[in-house]
Amino acid sequence: MERLVSATVGLLLLSACAPPAAYFGKIEPPEGAVLRVGNGADPASLDPHRAPGSVEEQILINLFEGLTEYDPVTLEPIPAVAEAWEMDARATRFRFHLRRAARWSNGRPVTAWDFVYSWRRALAPETASPNAYLLYYIKNAEAYNTGKLKVRDRRTGRFLTDEFGRDLLLTAEEVDRIRRGEGSDAGPRLQQLRRHLEGFVWEAVSLSAEDIGVRALDEHTLEVETEVPTAFFLKLTSLGVYRPVPREAVERHGRAWTRPEHMVSNGPFRLVEFEPGRRVVLEKNPLYWDAARVRLERVIFYPYSEATTLLNLYKAGEVDVLVSGLLPPYALRLLRRTRDYISGPYLLSYFLLVNVRRRPLSDGRVRRALALAIDRERLCQRLLAAGQQPLGAFTPSDFHGLYPRPKGVTYDPERARRLLAAAGYPEGRGLRLRYLYNAGALHAQIAEALQAEWRRVFPQIHIELIAQEWQVYLETVRLGDFDLARRSFSADFSDPTSFLDSMLSTSPNNPTGWGDPDYDRLVQQANAEPDVPRRMALLARAERVLLEDMPIIPIYSSVASFLRKPYVRGWHANILDRHPLKFVVVERTAPAFDLQAITPER
C-alpha cells in the first residue's frame, strides 16, 4: 500500500514537473535491455574459486549459480540450483535436492557431482584459492586444504577432538615433534597437545579430497556434512567460492577456461567479452532454467576506479548504476539531495587495530582511554557525509534483531582522562603513539580528526600520523609494526561470526598481538551451537570480552551508498552490496520508473 502511494505521488511529481530536476544528469534508458554498471576495478579472475573479492563476486554470481542465491533485498538464501533442502536437528548434515531443469550453457545438466567436483577443486592446494577458508566449515575441508593431519584413536577408530567437539588438527611438524617426545621447551601449544594425547594409542591421518564431507547420493541429491554443527551453513552456499565450475572446460583448457571462448557457465548470464581495463560483457544465457524470468539481455561492467570519472559517466548517461563505495567524498553532500542517491546499512566496520605487544598500549587502561575520548557522533556528522553511523562495538549490525549486540564504548572524556592519568599519563603527558594508515583522502581526514579528538581530551598527547602506500601499509600491519592502525573489515556473509572470527588469537587478520582464551572459547563454542538464540548469546558474550579488553577501537559502521538511474529497477541497497542481476530490470517508459529512489535527508 505504502509502495502504491509513493509510486502515485512520484508519478504525479513526474508529470507535474517533467523532466524531474531532482535527478543527477541525463535520464535516458540505453537502447535495448542493457545495464551498464560501474564496478570499480578489473576482476582479477573470473574463476569462482580463484576470484579474491567483491569486485569479482559482483560479476561471478551472475555467471555461476550456486545451490542457493541471494535474495536481492535481504540476501537470505533462496532456491537456485537446489529447489529444496533440509538439515538435521544438530545442524551437521544438510541435504540439497537439485532442480532437474538446471543446465550448463553447453546443454549438459547440472548434477550433484558438479558440486562434489567443484568443492574438491576449490579446496585442492594446487588451486590456490584465496577463499578456500570459507569452505572450512565442511567436514575435513580444512585438513585437506592445509595438509594438516587429524588424530585417530587406534582402539576405537574415532578421531580425537578438542574441548569444543572439533577434530584435532596437527601440522606434520607438530606430529613429528610429539613423536620425538620433545621436552618442555616445546611451546605451550605442543605441551597442551601432548597432555591431550596422553593415554591414547593414536595415529596421525592425512585427509584426501574423497574425505571431504560432500557426497552425491544420486544425480540430483547432494549431502553435506559439516565439521561441527553449523547453523548458518545456508548463508554460505550463495558465496562465490561455493558455486560450481564446469569440469569439462576446466580440464580441457586449464587456466584459460575462463576466457569468453572457453567458458561454460550455469547462471542466468554467460560471458561474451573480457577486456582488462575496458569492460566485461555478459549476455543472457538462453539455456538457464529460469531464463523466462531474466529481463536483461546484456550487462556491461566498467572497471573504472577514478571516482570523478565514474560520476561524469553517470551524469552523462553512459552508466546506469554504480556499485557501493565509488562516490567521490567531496560530492556526497550534493549527491545526497538527488533522487539517484540510494543508501542503506552495510556490513563494514571501520576501526583501529591496537598493538597490545607494545608499551604503553599493553596497558588496557590506555586503550580504553583512547577509545572513550573519541566523539564518534561529531566525527560522523562532520566528516562522513554518506550517513555512516557511530560504532561502539566491533560488529556493525544487530542482524535484524537476532543478535544481542553489546553497546560497546561511548564518548566519555571524563572517564578517559581519569583512566589515562591512572595509567601514568595525566593529560596525555609522555604518551607518544604512531598512527598508521594507507594514503587516501578519507583515511587521512579521519586520522587528522582522531588526532584532534585525542588532543581535545588529552592536550599533551603526541600522535604521529604515518601514511603509507597500500601494499606497504598491508605489509607493515602484517608485521605488527604500528601502535595504532586504521582498518576496515567487511563481512563475507551476514553473521556476526564473519567479524568475530577475525579476532581469534589464531586469525591472520589479528595482527594486534591480542589473544584471549575466553574469547576463543566462546566463539568456538558458539559456532558449534545448533540453537540460534543460544549461539547468538554466546557470540555476544565473546564480543563483550573483546570490547572489555579493547585490542580494537571501533569508529563507525559504513553504509552502502550509490547512484542508480530511475529506470533501473530491482537493484537494492543491501548489507553485503550484492546484486543478482536476474532480478534487475531496465524500464523503457517513464511511468514504470522506480521513483522510490528518495532517501530522506538525515
Partner: protein
C-alpha cells in the same frame, strides 16, 4: 649507415638487460605481494598462492626462469590477472595508447609547425600573437586541469562527446585534444626559433640573390634546418606518447599502457611491470634511433658513425 644502426642496436641490448634486471629486483624488493588484499588469508593458503605464482623460490631462480622465458619473448602470465598473459595486455594496451599518441602528435605537428612558421615570419601580426598566447596557455595548463575542463564543457554541459571510456571514435576527441595542447605550443616555439635563426643565415641571402622564389627559399632552404630541433624532440616525445600517458588514461578511463603501468605498480604485478618497462625501453631506443637517422638525412652536416 648500416654499420651505425647495427652498432646502436648492439649497445641497446646490454642497456635493456640492465633496465630489466634492476626492475626485476626492485619490484621484488618493494614491500607487498601481487595477491595481498586487506583481508589476510590463513598462512597455509598464502603458501599455496606463493607456490602457485612461483614466488616460493629464491630470487635468483625466479630471475633465471624469467630470463629464460624472455628469450622466447614470453613475459609469462600477469600475476594480477592470472588468466591473461602479459603479452596480451601489452598488445591490447599498445593498440589503445598508440592511436591516441599518434593522432595527438600529428595534430600537434599539424597545428604547431604552421603556427611557428607564422610566428617567425610575422611576429607582430595580431592573429599570430593571439594564437601563440593560446598555445602558451596550453603548455602551461597541466593536463589534469585541462582534461576535466574540457569534460565539463563538452560532455557535461553540451553533451557532445562522452566524458570517458574507450571503443568508438567519439572517445578519442577529448583525450587527443588534452594531450596535444601541450605539444602544440612546444612545437610552435621550436619551429619559430629554428626558423628565425635559419632566416638570418648567409646561405639564405645567397638563395634569394640567385633569384629563387621566396616560397622555395622558405620551404627548401629555411624550413629544413629549422625543423631539425622539432625532429629531435619528436623521437622521445613520440616514444612516451605511444607508451601511454598515465594521467590522461586515468582521467578518461582509457585501457592503455599507462593505465596498466600504474595498476601493475600498485598491485605489485611483477610480470606486467617488467613487460611494460621493456616495451617502453624498446620504443624509446628505437624511436631515438629513427630520429637520429632522419636528422642525418635532412641535415647534410651530420654524418652517423
Amino acid at each position: 649507415m648500416g654499420r651505425y644502426i647495427l652498432k646502436r642496436l648492439l649497445f641497446a641490448l646490454p642497456l635493456l638487460w640492465l633496465v630489466l634486471t634492476l626492475t626485476f629486483f626492485l619490484v621484488r624488493w618493494a614491500p607487498g605481494k601481487p595477491f595481498r588484499r586487506e583481508r589476510a588469508v590463513p598462512a597455509e593458503i598464502e603458501a599455496h598462492l606463493d607456490r602457485h605464482y612461483g614466488l616460493d623460490q629464491p630470487w635468483p631462480v625466479q630471475y633465471a626462469n624469467y630470463l629464460r622465458g624472455l628469450a622466447r619473448l614470453d613475459f609469462g602470465p600477469s600475476y594480477r590477472y592470472p588468466e591473461v598473459t602479459v603479452r596480451e595486455i601489452l598488445w591490447r594496451g599498445f593498440r589503445v595508447s598508440a592511436p591516441i599518441g599518434f593522432v595527438a602528435y600529428a595534430l600537434a605537428l599539424g597545428v604547431g609547425v604552421p603556427l611557428g612558421v607564422g610566428a617567425a615570419l610575422r611576429p607582430r601580426a595580431v592573429w599570430v600573437r593571439a594564437l601563440m598566447g593560446v598555445a602558451v596557455l596550453g603548455v602551461s595548463t597541466p593536463n589534469f586541469v585541462l582534461g576535466p575542463l574540457l569534460v565539463l564543457l563538452f560532455s557535461l554541459t553540451l553533451y557532445w562527446v562522452p566524458p570517458a571510456g574507450w571503443g568508438e571514435g567519439r572517445h578519442l576527441v577529448l583525450p587527443v585534444l588534452t594531450l596535444s595542447a601541450a605539444y602544440i605550443a612546444y612545437i610552435a616555439r621550436l619551429t619559430q626559433s629554428g626558423l628565425q635563426q635559419a632566416l638570418a643565415q648567409d646561405y639564405l641571402r645567397t638563395a634569394r640573390a640567385k633569384g629563387l622564389r621566396p616560397r622555395a627559399v622558405l620551404l627548401r632552404h629555411a624550413l629544413r634546418p629549422a625543423l631539425l630541433p622539432v625532429l629531435s624532440f619528436t623521437g622521445p616525445s613520440l616514444a612516451f606518447l605511444l607508451a601511454g600517458t598515465v594521467v590522461i588514461e586515468k582521467i578518461f578511463a582509457i585501457p592503455g599502457l599507462g593505465h596498466f603501468f600504474v595498476q601493475a605498480a600498485l598491485n605489485r604485478d611483477y610480470t606486467l611491470i617488467l613487460g611494460i618497462v621493456s616495451l617502453t625501453s624498446v620504443l624509446l631506443i628505437v624511436l631515438n634511433l629513427v630520429a637520429d637517422i632522419a636528422m642525418a638525412r635532412l641535415d647534410p652536416r651530420i654524418t652517423l658513425r
